[in-house]
Amino acid sequence: MMRFLLLFSRQGKLRLQKWFTPISEREKKKIIRDMTSMVLARQPRSCNFLHWKDLKIIYKRYASLYFCLAVDNQENELLALEVIHRYVELLDKYFGNVCELDIIFNFEKAYFILDEFLIGGEIQETSKQVVNRCIESSDMLQEDDSSEWYEVELFG
């Protein structure tokens, strides 16, 4: 089971955080600090796995962004690496050549995609097409509804 997923930049700025298990705010802050310092300190040619307490940290760098996924100890590391990769592929497909700025400015979209891909710490849907269809259909819904909602806001 996955525990959390963090995205942060090379400067250690957090871009996205997803916690699959309930963790207190304080603990979260500490974890984020630990993760950024640990992952950023890694040498370029070393392996993508780390140990942290009883968890395994799988991280991968895509351009200026680090994707950092924590899984249970008995989990398959390579598979977790592919989870990260698949998520990047999904982002890429949605944004079209995704870059850090896309995620900064549309992070809620990144969260939506993540919600369709992973749920409660497990893989939900691995197919790129299916996930995208879901996202697109809800986007459509938004276009349709926005005017209506706008009116509600004005009059209510």
Binding site: E77, L78, D145
Partner: protein
């Protein structure tokens, strides 16, 4: 509103508090439509966690949305439910979620299954009744829903594999279909069919097939197929392969499959990709318990991984080694682990873990060491071992485990054949049992006592050991049965010839009778760190007592060795008190006892602190020393030191000439000694051979490698990029000693060595600063070059300091400004030497010129060789940083220390760190001692304070002003050397250099 909520999320992720917006997030989820609702739900799932009170407000919204006709709203509700939902509200929405399992849309069914999975995780008993619905989900026509249901099954099967054996066939069929590519192309990932599904199934199968042959047989075929299919060179196939291998090794073994799996592991381990190597090591770790041969096949790779720059790989390798530890290789592996520990300082619990493991072995190792090294070893080894055990580490739990482990292992040793164990080991055992056997609760103190009693009855047990045993018994005698045993023992020994034994027996008897006194004097669970030691080194609290006694006409106290001397008409004073053996120095109780013979008055008279100190002090190293100091102090005050008496000196000289024939130490004994010494020196060359035991040619290569690593401690020194090798040590030292007026015998031999370097050396040495040019310097050796800069270095020994001079030669045509040069060292303190020219280490170098940097070095932590590492970067052109290192032997920091014999005497007593060793004597000289000492003087710059007969005392200081004293005595053809210093490790390092100096001569 939506935008605002998005901003609030952003603020939170930047670390700012935005709790005011939580309620609005819930409102948005409730009232919004479309994307607003979605953002609302997202914000809720990001802001709140399962226990947040506001989450209750969401329940109604979720209920409403689950009933909505809008698919997307249902999806959103299910998503948020499967991420978090208050536990006690589950029953409210459970029927609705269950209903969704029959929904026509597969995405809804899938999300519903995952929501149920979540419920199962947080409240398993609430979903008990719908297990058959899970089965239905498993048989769903949509593979996505089926995949989702596997999460639940994996969880349930892990908890109770027996209940789901009947599903094995279905799982196997599913896997077969997946592997066979029967799934829609949608599920492919990089043209591998549904890898997540495959892995999930493999894991389920391994749970089902564990320890079950008939079930395992169902799987063999499909596992084989998986192994064959997964051939493509992609991470995801490796992930599947790894899972296959794990499954194959978990289920009931089948040799064909095992073979294939082993081959797979081989591919992993040998892969150049670091991630695969890691997994390979992990697989090996997993497998090695069943099949140690596999590790043998890959031992070369394992050794390489051990030196891998990546700590993670290193750690994994250690984990693997941990599994293959046995009695033969335990030393090497522990060594490696400690090495690892030294490197990684900030790795949280992993370090804890490795530390713990290493410590457990530590006991085993010490057991071996004690049984082999036995009585040959120096007394401080068991002492420091016990100290370590009692002081413990940071973690209470670890301490307890370690001690328990020690107790267990010793009890079993005593059940075996204790007669074969060396005395010192027996002492250690009895101490540990006395202190910690209460940790093992089911162990009766009486039975421990009986074991200990057996020791007493053995005739080869020395009285010293008996002392330890009796003391342990004193600590143990609680409860009826044990008291009677104790009484019996004390009866036997209370009339012993040995006073100390008698004393102990008395103690035992009285403490046995009066448990109240016992608990006061010997508090249980004495944590050395928490107990404040008020060690009064002068024993001043006895002053009143002593003066009273003196006034009453008692004879002044004479220390034991003095009395012995007087008795034996000793020929010379030994600074080493005879019978330094523990019983005498054991505790101040024995002193008190000598003056007031009743033990009872000892325990209730005088002052309480005395008693506590007295008893406790036995254990600590400090206590041990205090005793010795006080004894010798009195000697100094009361008796004129025979060292200064000319008649005795003459006598001593006479005796010296009378003893030209010395019996050589029997060789096997020496060997043993060497073994013990080398075991502790950190050399593992002998033992590393048997890391993996047999196996032919590979183990040879391995041996060489391990030896190379072992040499850090200094047995062989040409390995690393040592810039300052033997020749320049010699090259510089003789000339130095020429200054001090001694002729160096081998200075001429060294010249040819230096010749090739000469011209460069000369031209650089002209750049030496004026204040240093008068002094002699070591050979100037090149350090590194970076672009047009060449760095060289030498060191200059000044009386009060050691100066490291670094030359930077600029061979380019332009001046280079601001060269950042950084020096650092673990063992040394490096100070930039403020010269007149500039006060900053960043300086300009003109073209074709040389810049000179001076650093003064002082030793922070003595070590046999010290090393300065530095980095320099060239500011011109592409930025580039080069590292270099410069190694110096500790001897370059040693200066003679001139002092008188009296000063020597007082200093000797004040120092706490000592070491003893026998060195070879230069035997072809008529006066071996003088010849040997003059070699030491010449080579190591020790100051010979005085030579009296067969004994000599020398002194030196480590820059700056940290003295080290040396006492040598010719004994049985060897030079017994005893070094003392206030600086830890200094005696050990110095003795190493003495050894070298004498070997070379």
């Amino acid at each position: 509103m939506k935008e605002l909520m998005v901003r609030a999320i952003y603020c939170e992720s930047l670390g700012y508090e935005a709790s005011f917006s939580y309620i609005h997030a819930i409102k948005l989820a409730q009232q919004g439509a479309g994307l607003e609702k979605r953002v609302g739900y997202l914000a809720v799932s990001l802001f709140l966690n399962e226990n947040h009170e506001l989450l209750l407000l969401l329940v109604n919204t979720v209920l409403k949305d689950l009933q909505s006709t809008n698919l997307i709203e249902v999806c959103m509700a299910l998503t948020v439910v499967s991420q978090m939902f208050p536990k006690d509200m589950i029953p409210a929405i459970l029927p609705l979620v269950e209903e969704k399992l029959n929904h026509p849309k597969e995405i809804i069914r899938r999300k519903a299954v995952l929501a149920l999975y979540k419920f199962y995780l947080i409240a398993p008993n609430q979903v008990q009744h719908i297990h058959n619905k899970f089965r239905k989900a498993l048989c769903d026509k949509d593979p996505g829903v089926m995949t989702a249901s596997l999460h639940i099954y994996l969880q349930m099967i892990q908890e109770n594999p027996e209940g789901y054996k009947d599903l094995t066939a279905s799982f196997v069929t599913i896997l077969k279909q997946v592997v066979g590519g029967k799934l829609p192309i949608d599920f492919n990932y990089h043209s591998v069919p549904a890898p997540w599904l495959q892995i999930q199934l493999l894991r389920i199968l391994s749970f089902l097939g564990k320890n079950d042959q008939s079930v395992s047989e169902l799987m063999y075929e499909v596992l084989d197929e998986s192994l064959q299919r997964a051939e493509m060179n992609h991470n995801i196939t490796y992930a599947i392969l790894y899972e296959c291998v794990r499954c194959i090794y978990t289920i009931h073994p089948k040799s064909e499959l095992l073979e294939k799996a082993a081959q797979c592991i081989g591919n992993f381990v040998l892969s150049p990709k670091i991630n695969l190597k890691y997994l390979g090591l992990k697989a090996l770790t997993y497998v090695v318990q069943q099949d140690p041969k596999l590790a043998l096949q890959h031992q070369m790779t394992i050794i390489e991984c051990l030196d891998h720059p990546d700590l993670i790989i290193k750690r994994e390798t250690l984990e693997l080694l941990f599994r293959i530890t046995n009695a033969q290789n335990v030393m090497v592996i522990v060594e490696k682990m400690l090495e690892f520990l030294r490197v990684s300082t900030d790795d949280y619990t992993t370090i804890d873990l490795v530390g713990k493991v290493a410590e457990l072995w530590f006991i085993e190792t010490m057991n071996t060491v004690f049984s082999v090294g036995g009585d040959m070893m120096q007394p401080d080894i068991p002492n420091s071992f016990l100290k370590l055990l009692s002081e413990g580490f940071d973690c209470v739990e670890d301490d307890r485990k370690l001690r328990l482990f020690a107790v267990d292992s010793y009890i079993s040793l005593l059940h075996g054949e204790p007669g074969k164990l060396p005395q010192r080991f027996l002492q250690v055992i009895s101490w540990v049992l006395g202190e910690y056997s209460h940790l093992r609760e089911e162990l009766e103190p009486a039975s421990v006592l009986r074991l200990l009693e057996k020791l007493l009855d053995m005739k080869q047990t020395s009285s010293e050991t008996k002392n330890w045993v009796l003391m342990a018994m004193t600590k143990l005698c609680v409860g009826g049965a044990s008291v009677s045993v104790a009484q019996q023992v004390s009866e036997t020994y209370i009339s012993s010839m040995d006073t100390v034994l008698r004393q102990r027996a008395q103690e035992l008897q009285h403490f046995g009778q009066d448990s109240e006194v016992r608990t006061r004097v010997l508090p249980r669970d004495t944590d050395l760190e928490n107990t404040i030691f008020d060690v009064d080194s002068s024993l001043s609290f006895l002053d009143g007592f002593v003066s009273e006694a003196l006034a009453a006409g008692a004879a002044p106290y004479k220390p034991p060795h003095q009395r012995q001397e007087e008795l034996a008409q000793a020929k010379a004073l030994s600074l080493e008190p005879y019978g330094l053996s523990l019983p005498i120095s054991m505790s101040s109780c024995s002193i008190a006892d000598r003056q007031s013979p009743t033990p009872l008055s000892m325990s209730s008279g005088l002052s309480t602190t005395l008693k506590l100190d007295g008893v406790k002090r036995v254990w600590g190293r400090e206590g041990y020393l205090v005793q010795r100091e006080s004894v010798e102090e009195t000697a100094q005050v009361e008796v004129p030191s025979p060292l200064r008496s000319p008649s005795q000196q003459a006598e001593a000289n006479g005796s010296h000439s009378q003893t030209p024939t010395q019996t050589p130490t029997p060789e096997p004994e020496q060997e043993k000694q060497q073994l013990a010494a080398s075991l502790f020196f950190g050399l593992s060359s002998q033992s590393s051979v048997c890391l993996m035991g047999k196996s032919g040619p590979t183990s040879h290569r391995f041996r060489r490698k391990a030896k190379g690593q072992g040499s850090i401690s200094g047995a062989t020194e040409q390995t690393s990029k040592t810039k300052l090798n033997d020749s320049d040590i010699k090259g510089s030292d003789p000339s130095l000693s020429e200054d001090s007026g001694l002729v160096a015998a081998d200075s001429e031999d060294m010249n040819p060595h230096e010749d090739p370097e000469r011209p460069k050396d000369l031209c650089l040495s002209s750049h030496l600063p004026a204040e240093l040019s008068g002094l002699c310097h070591s050979e100037i050796s090149p350090l590194c070059s970076i672009q047009s800069l060449d760095l060289s270095a030498c060191h200059v020994q000044k009386d009060d300091s050691l100066v490291l001079v670094i030359f930077i030669q600029n061979s380019s045509d332009s001046a280079i400004r601001q060269i950042p040069l950084d020096l650092d060292s673990d063992e040394l303190e490096v100070m930039y030497y403020v010269s007149r020219v500039s006060d900053s280490p960043v300086e300009d170098v003109r073209s074709h010129d040389v810049a000179v940097y001076q650093y003064s070095l002082t030793v922070k932590r003595p070590s046999v060789h010290v090393e300065v590492v530095g980095t320099v970067s060239c500011p011109v052109g592409t930025p580039q940083t080069v590292r270099f290192s410069y190694k110096l032997p500790l001897t370059t920091f040693i200066r003679p220390l001139t002092l008188s014999t009296e000063e020597y005497g007082t200093m000797w007593l004040a120092f706490s760190h000592d070491t003893k060793q026998n060195l070879t004597l230069i035997s072809d000289d008529p006066e071996p001692l003088t010849a040997t000492l003059s070699v030491l003087k010449r080579k190591l710059q020790l100051h010979v304070v005085e030579i009296i007969g067969m004994e000599g005392i020398l002194a030196c200081r480590l820059l700056r002003d940290r003295p080290c004293l040396m006492h040598c005595r010719v004994h049985a053809g060897a030079l017994a050397v005893w070094l003392r210093s206030p600086v830890p490790d200094l005696p050990d390092c110095l003795i190493y250099h003495c050894q070298r100096a004498l070997q070379e001569d």
